[in-house]
């Protein structure tokens, strides 16, 4: 990052820079301008100084081009959820194992948090050759700045050729900052990863334009090659509790932790007993055809039989029948359950892009021409107010 420096020999303490600072962080102390904490390096003071005593400097970074051959190994940054391993970490180890084998390199897991050493074993059981534990009270809460600083240190030290992280809110908040810190590429939300047998490059394939096209992305000249990977696409390897491997508790004593600028005041579990649609195996989803909020009661009853979740189309959410957290589609969530049951949903393209990855799609709709039937593996043309109660009865049997 850049920073602002006052050249003390040139500064006469004239005060011209003080009002130019939009953040009020310049003070004159003993006839010399001092920049206090909070400088955004906006540069407004540079022009204000009549004596050219204020300069913007770029922090020295390694100017030599990256020798990509110095980087080796596959590294998974595994997310913890409420202090426990999130499933997505195991999914990443599964695809990471395949990539590491193809490259004939090691597979490393990094976990970040506080008092988490005991969790390392579970990653060994799932295929990791090495687990690096970054343990600090500064890492207790989700803090993108601290997490990305630690990851920067670890990537520079261990120099993996590939870094993978879950494309969750956690991963998608941290890794883009890391990519800027270490000047390398990052591909978002990949659904397929392969090694190009000729070049050895990581081929990162992801949906774009709402899933209407797939793009394969390469990161040819910088390292590591980094990708976030969509949860629930890869299958975790079975646990092998005989597996043994190295666990390194990383020394973080040399890290200069920045001043804390964000605080989590409260972490609220909102869904209660409801299952999150991003994680459910079965989603029962309702749309405009439900004619009001009442009919969602039926959908919850059906979903409960499967231990599943209730989704909704944008029309139902916009009508205020059900909260936004349930919305599936372009402006909602993308889901990939084993079974998706669309009830009273016509299936606009904006909805389709959010549920297209589902393994099996069922649709119940009275309009035989509804676009959802083009997508459904099993379509049922009928009145949902008759079919659904009857289906609930039959499923309960």
């Amino acid at each position: 990052m850049n920073y602002i420096e006052i050249i003390e020999d040139l500064c006469v303490g004239c005060n011209a820079c003080v009002p130019s600072c939009r953040f009020g962080v310049i003070k004159i102390i003993n006839d010399i301008a001092i920049i206090e904490e909070g400088c955004t390096v906006c540069g407004a003071c540079l022009d204000a100084c009549p004596y050219d005593a204020i300069v913007s400097r770029a922090e020295l970074t390694e100017s030599k081009p990256v020798d990509i051959n110095e980087y080796s190994g596959v590294c998974v940054v595994a997310e913890l959820e409420h202090g426990k391993p999130a499933t997505v970490g195991f999914e990443l180890l599964s695809v990471g194992r395949t990539l590491a084998n193809a490259r004939e390199v090691d597979l490393t897991t990094i976990i970040l948090g506080h008092n988490i050493k005991d969790l390392a074993e579970s990653y060994v059981y799932r295929g990791s050759d090495r687990v690096i534990v970054a343990d600090s009270e500064y890492l207790k809460d989700f803090n993108e700045e601290n997490y990305s600083i630690v990851l920067e240190k670890l990537v520079k030290k261990y120099q993996p050729e590939i870094v993978l992280c879950g494309a969750t809110i956690w991963g998608r908040s941290i890794i883009p900052r890391l990519a800027v810190k270490i000047n390398t590429g990052l591909t978002a939300d990949c659904t397929q990863l392969d090694i190009d047998p000729e070049t050895g490059l990581l081929m990162q394939t992801r949906p774009a334009f709402g899933g209407n096209i797939m793009a394969t992305i390469l990161c040819p000249n910088t390292r590591p090659q980094m990708a976030t990977v969509r949860p629930r696409v890869m299958k975790p390897l079975p646990e092998e509790i005989e597996r043994k491997s190295e666990v390194i508790v990383e020394d973080l004593s040399d890290i200069k932790w920045p001043r804390k600028r964000t605080t989590i005041l409260e972490s609220v579990e909102e869904l209660g007993e409801m299952i999150n649609i991003a994680e459910a195996d079965v989603i029962v989803s309702g749309g405009r055809g439900l004619d009001g909020p009442e009919a969602f009661g039926m959908l919850f009853e059906l979903a409960k039989i499967f231990n599943g979740a209730v989704g909704a189309s944008r029309a139902a959410v916009d009508a205020g029948w059900i909260p936004y957290a349930h919305q599936v589609g372009q402006t909602g969530k993308t889901v990939s359950p084993k079974l998706y049951i669309a009830i009273g949903i016509s299936g606009a393209i904006q909805h389709q892009v959010g549920m297209q990855p589902s393994e099996v799609i069922m649709a119940i709709n009275k309009d035989p021409n509804a676009p959802i039937f083009e997508l459904a593996d099993y379509g049922f043309v009928g009145d949902l107010f008759e079919v659904v109660p009857s289906l609930i009865k039959k499923m309960k049997k």
Binding site: T40, P176, V180, A188, T216, D377, Y378
Partner: protein, 262 residues
């Protein structure tokens, strides 16, 4: 207080086509709109301005010159000024190069107290440019925000959505905040706003204006490369049942049970 809102122009339809010869997207003929998440971000900014008229809302966008047309809408909604970063050299930028370019422009324009952006754009769906801008500027971030609760005493409090619910997060200004579509529907342009939009110039800035390092911008500055674009395989045609409701329910239950999910 100065607020920047980052806005991207995207194709209106998700029904895009690919040129089978070049493998690139056919954007011609597809109408463009402003990214819906960015419009939610603009609405959050404008609501802060509603409460405190001294707030200045600046829209910043990187795109081709014709983006100017759609950007007028943001003026009509109430943005104070609009900057369009437009230069052939910006073209082909990935999220690393884009976040560098936008952050450099924000610095050039005097810096921000709050930078709002949509959580992601509906064409690329990466959600990476926002946090990238925060890192370039070395400022904190709150991503995936569904509601801005309060801006007071140099701090912002917002609800960041999580898979399990939400985190209530407090951050110091200057800060970058990315917005999901929340409860706040973007406002319609007012008549007065539309008149103002006609009179207001959309300021264009190129690479030399904002003094970017040329090796960091556009396709050449981008660490990632698109190797191949293809259409995903279509789903096999499904089965469709019609008839009396209890028969339908019976068939449906039978199929569900045969899937062995439950």
């Amino acid at each position: 207080m100065r607020i920047f809102v980052c806005i991207k122009e995207v194709p209106d339809t998700t029904d895009v086509k690919i040129d089978s010869e070049t493998g690139t997207l056919i954007r011609a003929g597809v109408p463009s709109i402003l990214n819906p998440f960015d419009m939610s971000a603009l609405e959050e900014a404008l609501q802060l301005k509603d409460k405190n008229p001294s707030v200045k809302v600046t829209v910043i966008c990187m795109g081709p010159p014709q983006t100017e047309k759609n950007l007028r809408e943001t003026l009509a909604m109430g943005a104070d000024d609009v900057y369009l970063l437009t230069d052939r050299e910006f073209a082909g930028a990935d999220t690393w190069a884009t976040s560098y370019t936008i952050s450099t422009a924000i610095k050039y324009l005097g810096g921000a107290d709050i930078i709002f952006a949509g959580k992601q754009a509906i064409d690329g769906d990466t959600a990476q440019t926002g946090p990238g801008i925060a890192e370039w500027l070395d400022i904190p971030q709150i991503t995936f925000v569904r509601k801005v609760c309060e801006v007071k005493d140099g701090k912002i409090v917002a609800e960041r959505s999580r898979d399990f619910g939400y985190d209530l997060v407090e951050a110091e200004l200057p800060v970058l905040v990315t917005i999901i579509k929340g409860e706040k529907t973007p406002r319609l342009p007012s008549l007065r706003g539309m008149l103002k939009a006609k009179r207001t110039e959309i300021k264009k800035l190129n690479a030399d204006d904002i003094k970017v390092k040329k090796e960091n911008i556009g396709l050449n500055g981008s660490p990632t490369r698109v190797h191949r674009i293809f259409t995903p395989p279509k789903r096999a045609e499904g089965e469709k049942y019609e008839g009396e409701f209890s028969e339908l329910a019976e068939k449906c239950a039978e199929i569900i049970k045969s899937l062995n999910i439950v």
